[in-house]
C-alpha cells in the first residue's frame, strides 16, 4: 500500500473519530447543542423573525436545561422535568380551537434586544412549575416564594451572569421592597447558597417533606413544619466559627441532623491521626433519637474526616445508606483578611439515611 493511501486513510479515520466523539458528546448533552444552536441563531437573528424566535427560545431553553442538570447533580430530582420552550403560532388560536380548553400560561416575549427581560421572565415562570413540583404546595407560600427568587438568582448567576443586574434591579429588589420577611429569607438563602447547602440540604429536605404528602391536597397545617425547620436553618446560616449549636431538628416529618466537622484541631490528634469518635457517637445517638437523615459537612483539611466517617458508616449497610455525596467549591468571606477576602475552599456534603428510622 502506498504511503499516500495510508496518509489518506489515517486522515479519514481521525476525522471520523473526531466526528464520532463530538456526536456522542452532543447525544449525551443535548442542552449544549441547543446552546450552540442559540449562538448561531443569534448571529443571524436580524435576518428574519423566524430566526429571531429560534434564538430567543433556544437561548432560554438551553440555559434552563443546563442549570437543571447542574442542580440535579447536587441533589437528584430537584428539577425533575426538562423544559421545552416554544413559540406559539398565533394562527393556531381561534375561539373554536381545542387549545382553549387546556390551561396554560403564554408569556409575551419582546424582540432579541430585550433578551435580558425575556430570559428573566421565562425563568420565573419556569421555576414555579419545575422546582420541587410535588412538594412546593406543602411549603409555606412566602418561604416558597423566597426559595424561587433565590433559585432564579443562582440560575442567572451560573448560566448568564450578565443578566444578574437586570434581575436584581428590575425584579428582586422590587419584590423585596417593604417585605422584611422576604429580605431576611433571601439573606439566609444567599448564605446557604454560598456554602453550597441551599440545594443539597434545604431543597432536599423540602422535597422529601412534600413527597410524604403528595398527591394529597395541601392544607395550611402542612406549612408549619417547613417554617420551623427554616428557623433552624437560620441558626446554621448565622453560625459563627467555633460557636456550638444543636445540629438536630426533630419534627413530626423532618428528622435530620447536620453534622459540621469542626476545626482541624478537634479532628486531628497531635500525631496527625483522624479522630472521629465524637462524631460517630453522635451519629449512633441520632439512631436512638429517631433521626432518619444525617448530613456530614466538611471543608478543606477536615474533608478527610468526613470521608473517614463515611467509610465507617459504609461498613454498616444494614443501618446506614449513603444517598448523596458531593465535593464542591465554596467562597468563604473573610472580613479580617484582605488577601483571603473571597477565598475559595473545597467542601463536601455527604447524606446518609438511617434505615431503622425511615
Amino acid at each position: 500500500m502506498s504511503e499516500e493511501l495510508l496518509t489518506i486513510i489515517g486522515l479519514v479515520t481521525s476525522w471520523s473519530l473526531t466526528f464520532a466523539i463530538i456526536s456522542i458528546y452532543f447525544l449525551f448533552h443535548p442542552e449544549k447543542v441547543e446552546k450552540w444552536f442559540a449562538i448561531i441563531a443569534k448571529l443571524f437573528s436580524f435576518t428574519s423573525k423566524k430566526v429571531e424566535k429560534i434564538h430567543i427560545s433556544k437561548d432560554i431553553q438551553s440555559k434552563l436545561n443546563i442549570y437543571r442538570k447542574e442542580v440535579n447533580k447536587e441533589c437528584e430530582g430537584l428539577v425533575p422535568s426538562k423544559t421545552k420552550v416554544k413559540f406559539l403560532n398565533p394562527m393556531s388560536f381561534g375561539e373554536d380551537r381545542v387549545e382553549h380548553h387546556e390551561d396554560k400560561v403564554i408569556i409575551i416575549m419582546k424582540n432579541r434586544k430585550n433578551q435580558d427581560e425575556n430570559f428573566v421572565k421565562a425563568s420565573l415562570f419556569c421555576v414555579e412549575n419545575t422546582l420541587i413540583p410535588n412538594a412546593r404546595r406543602y411549603v409555606d407560600p412566602q418561604l416558597m416564594k423566597s426559595v424561587d427568587l433565590q433559585f432564579v438568582k443562582n440560575l442567572i448567576a451560573k448560566v448568564d451572569k450578565a443578566k444578574l443586574n437586570y434581575y436584581i434591579d428590575n425584579h428582586l429588589s422590587i419584590q423585596l421592597e417593604n417585605n422584611n420577611e422576604l429580605v431576611e429569607n433571601i439573606n439566609i438563602l444567599d448564605l446557604l447558597s454560598e456554602r453550597g447547602v441551599f440545594t443539597r440540604i434545604l431543597l432536599k429536605v423540602l422535597r422529601d417533606y412534600g413527597l410524604q404528602f403528595f398527591p394529597r391536597p395541601s392544607i395550611p397545617g402542612h406549612y408549619e413544619e417547613p417554617r420551623i425547620f427554616f428557623e433552624k436553618i437560620k441558626e446554621f446560616a448565622n453560625k459563627k466559627p467555633g460557636e456550638d449549636i444543636n445540629p438536630t431538628f426533630k419534627g413530626k416529618h423532618i428528622k435530620i441532623s447536620i453534622i459540621m466537622i469542626g476545626r482541624s484541631a478537634k479532628v486531628f490528634t497531635e500525631a496527625g491521626d483522624v479522630n472521629v469518635s465524637p462524631y460517630m457517637t453522635w451519629i449512633f445517638s441520632c439512631e436512638d433519637k429517631g433521626i432518619n437523615s444525617i448530613f456530614l459537612l466538611a471543608r478543606d483539611r477536615t474533608i478527610i474526616a468526613a470521608q473517614h466517617i463515611a467509610g465507617l458508616l459504609d461498613l454498616m449497610p444494614e443501618r446506614f445508606e449513603m444517598v448523596a455525596n458531593s465535593v464542591y467549591s465554596v467562597k468563604i468571606k473573610n472580613k479580617y483578611s484582605l488577601k483571603d477576602r473571597d477565598k475559595k475552599s473545597k467542601a463536601i456534603c455527604i447524606n446518609y439515611i438511617i434505615k431503622e428510622n425511615l
Binding site: K49, E52, K53, I56, S57, I60, Q61, E76, G77, P80, S81, K82, T83, K84, V85, K86, F87, L88, N89, P90, M91, F93, G94, E95, E99, H100, H101, E102, D103, K104, V105, I106, I107, I108, M109, K110, N111, K121, A122, L124, F125, C126, E128, N129, T130, R136, R137, P141, M144, K145, D148, H171, I174, Q175, S218
Partner: protein
Amino acid sequence: MESRIKTLDLLHYSDLEQFLKNIKKYNDFKEGKILCKFCNEPITLDNICAILLRKDDFIFLCNKESCYTNYLQIQSENW
C-alpha cells in the same frame, strides 16, 4: 429517573395583534377594555406580561411586580 418535559409557551410581541384578532379580543384591546386581572389597569403593548388560558377564558397579566406576586398566590391556591 423519569424525565418528563414541561413546555413553556411563548408568544412573540409581533404576533400579539394577530393572536388577539384570532381570539376576537383585538377591538377590546385597542379600546383599552382588556384589564389586568389583578390591578385592573388597561393592558397595552407596553405593559403586557402574560396571558393565562383558564378553561374557556383568557386572563391578562400586566408586568407590575405586585401583579406577578398575586398571580403566584393564585397559582399556589390552585395546587
